[in-house]
C-alpha cells in the first residue's frame, strides 16, 4: 500500500499527511466506523477527489495508524486503540 504522504502529493489532495491522520482520529473519537466512513469524510473535505481516490487515501491512513497502534481494526470496524474491546 502506498504511504499517505505519497498519496496526498500524487493526488494533489487538499490535505497534509498530518491532517489526514487527524481526520481519522477525529472521526473515531465520535465512535467506531468503517473505512468507507473515513473516505466520505475525506471527500467532504476535498470535493475534487473521486470516491476511489478517497477510499485509497482512507485505506492508507487506516493502515498507517493501525501499524502505529493509534487505532484498532476489527474486521471492517475501526476504533481508537484505547477503546478496543477484548
Amino acid at each position: 500500500m502506498k504511504p499517505v504522504k505519497f498519496l496526498v502529493d500524487n493526488l494533489c489532495a487538499n490535505f497534509t499527511e498530518q491532517s489526514v491522520f487527524e481526520l481519522v482520529i477525529r472521526r473515531l473519537a465520535e465512535g467506531p466506523c468503517t473505512a468507507e466512513d473515513i473516505a466520505q469524510r475525506i471527500t467532504a473535505h476535498d470535493r475534487s477527489l473521486d470516491a476511489k481516490s478517497a477510499s485509497t487515501l482512507a485505506a492508507a491512513a487506516v493502515g498507517e495508524l493501525a501499524e502505529r497502534g493509534d487505532i484498532a481494526v476489527q474486521g471492517e470496524r475501526l476504533l481508537l486503540a484505547g477503546s478496543a474491546r477484548t
Binding site: F6, D9, C12, N14, R47, S48
Partner: protein, 255 residues
C-alpha cells in the same frame, strides 16, 4: 517582480472566458487574460492542476497579465461536463483522468490562439503546476513552437510501466529527446510526487540529451508550495519561485 510598478503609471487588463477549438475540433472554454493596449505582448499557456480549472488559475492568469503577458488557460476538463471546479475534477478523476493526447491538442490550440491575436509578439511559453507541470513538459516535448516551458512540481513525468494507462500511455520522460525549448523546473524537496530521486532522474535525462534547462529544489517545501489557499503554501519559497518564473519568461519571451 513584486511591487515594481510605479504608482503614477496606468495599468489595466481584460480577463474573460472565451471558447477555442481544441483537440479534435472540440469547443473548449478557456480563461483569457491580457494587459489592455496594443502590445505586443508575449503569451503564456497556463495549464491547470489535478484539482481542476479553478480559482487559483484565474488569479494566476491575471497575475501574469499584470506583468505584461497575454495568458490563456484552457479547461482541460471541458469534456467531463460542467459544475464547480471540484465537482468536475472529481468526475475527471473518476473517469481515469484527461488523456495526454487531449491535453497536447488543447494546448496546441491555445498556443495557436495566442499567436493569432493582434497584440501577440509571436512568442509563447507554457507553465503548469502539479499535473499541469507534467503536462507543460509533455507539451514542450510533443510540440515544436514553444519558446519556453516551466514545470512546477510535475509528478508522473517519471512513470513505471505499471503506472501507464490508456490515457497516459507514455511516460513524459521518454520524450525528453524531443524537448523543443528551454525548461525551468521548480520542486519542493519534501514532495513525494515527484520525489527527489525522480527529479534527479528527470534532470539526468535532460543533461544526457543536452537540453537547456535549470532546476531549482526548495528545502522546507513540498507539493504545491505556491498554493496560498492550502496548508502547503510556503511564502519564502513561493516568492523566490515566482521571481525565477518571471526572470525565465522575461529572458525567453520578451522582445
Amino acid at each position: 517582480m513584486w511591487n515594481q510598478f510605479r504608482t503614477d503609471a496606468y495599468e489595466g487588463m481584460l480577463a474573460e472566458t472565451v471558447t477555442i477549438k481544441g483537440y479534435q475540433g472540440d469547443s473548449v472554454k478557456a480563461y483569457l487574460s491580457r494587459p489592455l493596449g496594443a502590445g505586443p505582448y508575449p503569451g503564456i499557456v497556463l495549464i491547470h492542476h489535478l484539482p481542476g480549472w479553478d480559482e487559483f488559475y484565474r488569479e494566476t492568469a491575471r497575475r501574469f497579465s499584470q506583468h505584461g503577458y497575454a495568458v490563456i488557460c484552457p479547461n482541460l476538463y471541458e469534456r467531463f461536463g460542467h459544475g464547480t471546479p471540484e465537482e468536475v475534477a472529481a468526475r475527471a478523476r473518476s473517469a481515469g483522468g484527461v488523456p495526454d493526447d487531449s491535453v497536447v491538442g488543447d494546448c496546441e490550440a491555445a498556443m495557436g490562439h495566442l499567436r493569432s491575436l493582434p497584440y501577440s509578439n509571436g512568442k509563447v511559453g507554457v507553465i503548469g503546476t502539479c499535473s499541469g507541470g507534467r503536462h507543460a513538459f509533455l507539451v514542450a516535448c510533443r510540440t515544436t513552437s514553444l519558446d519556453a516551458a516551466v514545470d512546477c512540481w510535475g509528478g508522473r513525468v517519471v512513470q513505471s510501466q505499471e503506472e501507464l494507462t490508456a490515457a497516459q500511455p507514455v511516460a513524459p520522460i521518454d520524450y525528453t529527446a524531443e524537448l523543443s525549448c528551454p525548461l525551468l523546473g521548480l520542486f519542493g524537496e519534501e514532495d513525494q510526487s515527484p520525489s527527489p530521486p525522480q527529479v534527479d532522474q528527470h534532470e539526468e535525462a535532460l543533461k544526457r540529451h543536452g537540453k537547456t534547462f535549470e532546476f531549482h529544489r526548495y528545502a522546507g517545501a513540498g507539493h504545491g508550495f505556491f498554493y496560498y489557499d492550502r496548508a502547503n503554501y510556503r511564502q519564502q519559497q513561493a516568492m523566490d519561485g515566482w521571481q525565477k518564473v518571471f526572470e525565465f519568461f522575461g529572458r525567453h519571451l520578451q522582445g
